[in-house]
C-alpha cells in the first residue's frame, strides 16, 4: 500500500517537474521513518529544481524545521515556507527533524547530484567526479536529464559513466546492455568491481547482458594490467635513477681511476645525513622556509661527501694505487669507521627526513596509476646529475685531464698534467656525486647508519654490467637493471627478483666480462 503511494508520488513529481516543489514530498522530509525521508529526498532530487537545492541544503545545515503541518526554513529571525519559498510568520515552537548519518549521506549525494545543474562548469565537473564512485539506481533519470543538458565534453564523458552505472540496476535488459557497453570503455578498478556481479547468473538473469559484462570485465582487466605494467616500468625507472646516482660516482672512481671503493655506500650515507642536518638547521632557524631545505642540502651534501672523499684519497687510497685488492680491503675499513661514526654522532636508529610539501602527492595518469612527485623529481634530478657529469668529463679542462690520466698516466704526467692532484679531484668528484645520490635517497628510503650497505652490491653490479670507464654503460645498465628487477618483482616477489637479477648478472659477466660497452684495445693484463 505504502509502496504504491510512493510510486504514485514519484510519478506525480516527475510529471509536475519544474512547476513548484511538491508539498507532500517536502512534508515527508520531516517524517518519522528514515526510509520515508530517503524517498522524499530522492524524489526532490529528481525535480532538479533550484528550490529543491535550497530545501535540501537547509536540511543538511539543520535549518529545516517543522511546526504542525508546516515545513519551514528558518534563517535568523525569519521563517520561509519550504515548498513555496514565501515568507511566513514565525511559529511559536518549531521542531527540528532528526537527521541521522544515513540521511546525511543521502543528502550529500543528492546535493552533489543537483550541482550537476549548476551554471558554473567547475562546480558541475566536481560534482560529476564525486558521482563516479557513489551512484544509486534512483539517480538514473536525473543523470539522463543532466546528460542531455550538458555541453562540456569532459563533464559529459564523466556523466555518461555515472549514467551507465546508475542504469546497471535498470529493469530493462536493453538499458543494462547499453550501460555495460558504455562501461567497457573505462579502465578503473571501481567500475570493474561494479560490473563483476553482473558476470554471474545470480547477479544478471539476461544472457546477453551477462556475456557483454564478462567481455567488459575482460577488456577492463587487460587495460588495468597494461597500466600496472606501465606503473612498474615507471618504478623501475625511478629505481634505475637511484642506481644511476649511486653508480655514477663509482663509474668515475672505479671505472676511470681503477679504484674499488667499498665505502661508496657510506658516501651516500654522508649525503643523506647532510639532508637531515639541513632539515634540522632549517627547522631551528628558518621554520618558514622549511620547504627549501632540500635545495639547500644539495651543495652541502656534495661538498661534505667530497671532503670525506679528499680525506680518504689523501690519507689512504693515495698509497694503494695499482693494488686494487688492497684498496678494496682498506676502503672497507673506511666504510666501517664511517658507519660507526654515524652511529656515534646521530644514534644507531634511523633518523626522520621528511619530504618538502612540493614533493608530496602525485600525478594521476589513470585511476590505478599515480606517479608520485618525489619519484618524478628524483628521475629528473638523476638526469640533471648525469648531464652535469657528462659536461664535466667532456667539456672542461678537469674532465680532459681525468680522461688523459685514465688513458695513459705516465704520458699525461710527461705533458704536464698534475696527475696526483687530478686523482684527488676525480675521487672527490666521485664522492660528491655519491653525496648527491644520498640526498635523493633520503627522500624515498630510511636514513640510518647502515643505509649505504644495501647499495654497494647493487651499484657495483651497475658498473660491472655497464663496463668499466663508461658513463653511457652505467646509464644503460642502471636503467635496465632497475626496470628489469621491477618487472620481475611484479610476478615473482622482491626476493626472488633480486636473486634472479644477481644470478643473471653473474651469467652475463661470463659472456661479456668487459660489460655492455667494452673499451676497445689490445692489452695484456699482468
Amino acid at each position: 500500500m505504502k509502496n504504491t503511494i510512493l510510486a504514485f508520488l514519484l510519478l506525480a513529481s516527475s510529471l509536475a517537474a519544474q512547476a513548484a516543489l511538491d508539498p507532500v514530498a517536502v512534508r515527508q522530509l520531516a517524517a518519522e521513518d528514515s526510509g520515508d525521508k530517503v524517498t522524499a529526498i530522492r524524489q526532490l532530487v529528481q525535480t532538479a529544481d533550484p528550490d529543491a537545492v535550497r530545501v535540501l541544503k537547509a536540511m543538511a545545515e539543520d535549518s529545516l524545521f517543522v511546526a504542525g503541518d508546516q515545513v519551514l526554513i528558518i534563517e535568523g529571525e525569519q521563517a520561509f515556507d519550504a515548498a513555496t519559498g514565501k515568507s511566513v510568520k514565525m511559529p511559536a515552537s518549531p521542531e527540528s527533524p532528526t537527521v541521522n548519518n544515513r540521511i546525511r549521506g543521502e543528502l550529500a549525494a543528492a546535493l552533489a547530484a543537483l550541482k550537476l545543474f549548476d551554471a558554473d562548469p567547475v562546480v558541475r565537473l566536481a560534482s560529476a567526479q564525486k558521482l563516479q564512485s557513489n551512484v544509486n539506481p534512483a539517480m538514473a533519470p536525473l543523470l539522463g536529464r543532466a546528460l542531455e543538458r550538458e555541453t562540456d565534453a569532459q563533464i559529459k564523458a564523466l556523466l555518461t559513466l555515472a549514467y551507465a552505472q546508475a542504469n546497471l540496476g535498470n529493469s530493462d535488459p536493453a538499458a543494462r546492455l547499453a550501460a555495460v557497453k558504455a562501461l567497457a570503455e573505462t579502465s578503473s578498478p571501481v567500475i570493474k568491481s561494479v560490473l563483476l556481479p553482473l558476470t554471474e547468473k545470480a547477479g544478471e538473469p539476461d544472457d546477453k547482458v551477462r556475456y557483454e559484462a564478462i567481455a567488459a570485465v575482460k577488456s577492463i582487466d587487460s587495460r588495468l594490467a597494461m597500466t600496472e605494467n606501465l606503473g612498474r616500468v615507471f618504478s623501475g625507472l625511478s629505481l634505475g635513477s637511484i642506481l644511476l646516482l649511486a653508480a655514477l660516482g663509482l663509474a668515475i672512481t672505479y671505472g676511470v681511476m681503477g679504484i674499488i671503493n667499498m665505502a661508496h655506500g657510506e658516501l651516500l650515507m654522508v649525503g643523506a645525513y647532510s639532508a637531515y642536518g639541513m632539515q634540522t638547521l632549517f627547522r631551528a632557524w628558518f621554520p618558514e622556509a622549511i620547504d627549501w631545505y632540500l635545495p639547500a642540502a644539495i651543495p652541502v651534501a656534495f661538498f661534505s661527501a667530497a671532503l670525506v672523499g679528499v680525506v680518504m684519497e689523501r690519507t689512504v687510497i693515495r698509497w694503494l694505487y695499482g693494488r686494487t685488492l688492497e684498496t678494496l680491503l682498506a676502503t672497507w675499513g673506511i666504510s666501517l669507521v664511517l658507519i660507526q661514526s654515524a652511529r656515534v654522532l646521530f644514534g644507531a636508529q634511523n633518523v626522520e627526513v621528511s619530504n618538502p610539501s612540493w614533493m608530496s602527492g602525485g600525478i594521476e595518469i589513470m585511476p590505478n596509476l599515480i606517479l608520485p612527485w618525489n619519484r618524478i623529481i628524483i628521475v629528473g634530478f638523476a638526469m640533471f646529475v648525469l648531464v652535469l657529469v657528462w659536461v664535466l668529463m667532456n667539456k672542461t679542462r678537469l674532465g680532459m685531464f681525468v680522461r688523459a690520466v685514465t688513458q695513459n698516466r705516465p704520458m699525461a704526467g710527461c705533458v704536464g698534467v698534475p696527475t696526483s692532484r687530478i686523482d684527488t679531484m676525480a675521487f672527490a668528484l666521485g664522492a660528491g656525486i655519491a653525496g648527491l645520490g644520498g640526498v635523493a635517497l633520503s627522500q624515498i628510503s630510511n636514513v640510518g647508519p647502515d643505509m649505504g650497505q644495501g647499495y654497494i652490491v647493487d651499484s657495483f653490479m651497475v658498473v660491472v654490467v655497464g663496463g668499466v670507464g663508461q658513463l653511457a654503460g652505467a646509464v644503460w645498465a642502471a636503467l635496465g637493471l632497475g626496470i628489469f628487477s621491477k618487472l620481475l618483482e611484479g610476478w615473482a616477489g622482491a626476493v626472488i627478483a633480486k636473486i634472479t637479477v644477481l644470478v643473471a648478472i653473474i651469467i652475463f659477466i661470463q659472456k661479456r666480462p668487459q660489460g655492455i660497452f667494452a673499451l676497445k684495445g689490445r692489452f695484456v693484463d699482468n
Binding site: 674499488i260 660507526q340 653473474i506
Partner: protein, 379 residues
C-alpha cells in the same frame, strides 16, 4: 725417483714446525680436557665452558682463514664469498642436528619446528637422508664443492679475475643470503637452525661432547695445516704461485691455469664447509647472516693481519682478530667497528705482510745488529 707420499708429507714441515704442531695438539687434546674436567672451578687453572666454546669457535675460523689463504695468498684470487661455503657446510650439518632433535621440539613433531610453524606436512626432497650421519657428512663436503666447482668453472673459464672476481663472489654470497632468508627455501628463514639437542645420540651440551668437538676441531686444523704445507710445496703449489705472479707467462709456457685455479678453489671451499660443520654444533646456531658480505670480507682481514702467503699467518690472524673482537664487544662494544675498520686500513697500508712479516723484519734487524755492528751487509 719420487719419494713416497708419507715421506714427502713429513718433509713438508721442518722439525720446529712439527714440534709446534705437537705442542698445540698436546695442549688441546690433553691439557684442555684436564683443565676443564679435573681442575675444580675455583682454581685459576680451570677452563670455563665459555673459554672452550670461544677457542673452539676461533679454531673453526682459523680453518676458514687457512682455506682463504690457499686461494688468496697462494692463488692470488681474493674471494669475498667464502662465508657462503662456510654456511653451506654449517647448514648441511645443521640439518642432521635438526633431525636429531626428534620429537623434543616445542611442537613434539617429527618435522623440525620451523616446518610445523609453516604448516608443512612432510620434509622437502633435499632433506632426504638428513637423519643419516654418513650422508650428511658427505653433504658437508659435497655441497660447497659442487657450488664452488660450478661457479668457479664458469668464472675461471671466462678468465674473470682480480676485483671483478671478488665482486662477483660477493654478489653470489649476497644472493644466497637473500635466498636463505626466505622461509620457503626450507632452511628456517631468518632464524636458521638452533636449539640443537643431540649429536650421534649424545647430548650436545654435555662437557664431554664439547671436549670431543673441541678436540676434533684441533685435529682437523692441524691436519689441514700439514696438508696445506705439503700442497703449497708440491709441484701443484708451485704452478699455482706462478699463476698468481704472472698468469699470462704460465699460459705461454703451456699450462692451463683453469684447472689449477679450479682445484685450489674447490679445496678451499670444502675446507670452509668442514669448518662450518664443526662450528655449528659448538656454537649451537646457524643462520643466513653467516653469508652476509661483511662476514666474508672479515675472513680476508684475518688472513691479512696474520700475513698471507704463509700458513701460520692466517691462524695467528684469526686468533688475534677474534680474541680482540670478543674482548672489545664485551668491554667497549661501540669501539669495535672503529678498531676493526682501522685494522683494515693499517694492515693494508703498513703491514702488507701481516704480523708474520713484521716478526720476520724485526728478527732480521735484530740479527743484523748482532752479527755486525755496522749494517754493511745491507744492499
Amino acid at each position: 725417483m719420487r719419494k713416497p707420499l708419507t715421506i714427502r708429507i713429513l718433509a713438508s714441515l721442518d722439525s720446529k714446525s712439527w714440534l709446534a704442531l705437537g705442542v698445540f695438539l698436546a695442549f688441546t687434546l690433553v691439557a684442555v680436557p684436564v683443565m676443564h674436567l679435573a681442575v675444580p672451578p675455583e682454581s685459576v687453572f680451570h677452563l670455563s665452558t665459555y673459554f672452550i666454546t670461544l677457542i673452539g669457535k676461533i679454531m673453526c675460523y682459523a680453518l676458514v682463514a687457512v682455506a682463504m689463504d690457499l686461494i688468496w695468498g697462494y692463488g692470488g684470487i681474493l674471494s669475498l664469498g667464502h662465508g657462503l661455503f662456510f654456511a653451506l657446510g654449517g647448514y648441511a650439518f645443521g640439518m642432521y642436528l635438526m633431525r636429531q632433535i626428534g620429537r623434543d621440539g616445542s611442537y613434539q613433531s617429527d618435522l623440525p619446528d620451523f616446518m610445523v610453524f609453516l604448516d608443512w606436512k612432510e620434509l622437502p626432497w633435499f632433506w632426504t637422508g638428513s637423519d643419516s650421519f654418513g650422508w650428511v657428512a658427505f653433504l658437508v663436503l659435497a655441497a660447497p664443492a659442487l657450488v664452488a666447482f660450478v661457479f668457479g668453472y664458469f668464472a675461471f673459464r671466462s678468465r674473470i679475475k682480480g676485483v671483478y672476481f671478488s665482486i662477483i663472489t660477493q654478489a653470489l654470497t649476497y644472493a644466497a643470503m637473500l635466498l636463505f632468508f626466505r622461509n620457503e627455501t626450507g632452511f628456517g628463514g631468518n632464524n636458521g637452525f638452533t636449539d640443537f639437542k643431540r649429536v650421534l645420540g649424545v647430548s650436545i651440551t654435555s662437557p664431554e661432547t664439547r671436549l670431543v668437538l673441541f678436540g676434533l676441531t684441533a685435529i682437523t686444523l692441524a691436519a689441514t695445516l700439514v696438508f696445506a704445507s705439503w700442497l703449497v710445496k708440491s709441484k701443484f703449489g708451485r704452478v699455482l704461485t706462478a699463476i698468481r705472479d704472472a698468469e699470462s707467462r704460465v699460459m705461454f709456457i703451456g699450462y692451463n691455469p683453469l684447472w689449477y685455479k679450479l682445484t685450489i678453489w674447490v679445496i678451499s671451499a670444502v675446507l670452509c664447509g668442514i669448518a662450518g660443520a664443526l662450528y655449528v654444533p659448538q656454537v649451537g646456531i646457524i643462520n643466513p647472516s653467516e653469508m652476509s658480505p661483511a662476514n666474508s670480507i672479515e675472513i680476508a682481514i684475518w688472513v691479512a693481519v696474520g700475513g698471507r702467503g704463509t700458513l701460520i699467518g692466517p691462524v695467528i690472524g684469526a686468533f688475534a682478530v677474534n680474541l680482540a673482537k670478543s674482548w672489545f664487544t664485551v668491554s667497549f662494544p661501540e669501539y669495535w667497528l672503529f678498531f676493526l675498520g682501522l685494522l683494515f686500513i693499517v694492515v693494508t697500508l703498513m703491514l702488507p705482510k701481516g704480523l708474520v712479516g713484521l716478526w720476520q723484519t724485526l728478527r732480521e734487524k735484530l740479527q743484523n745488529t748482532q752479527a755486525g755492528h755496522a749494517p754493511q751487509g745491507e744492499k
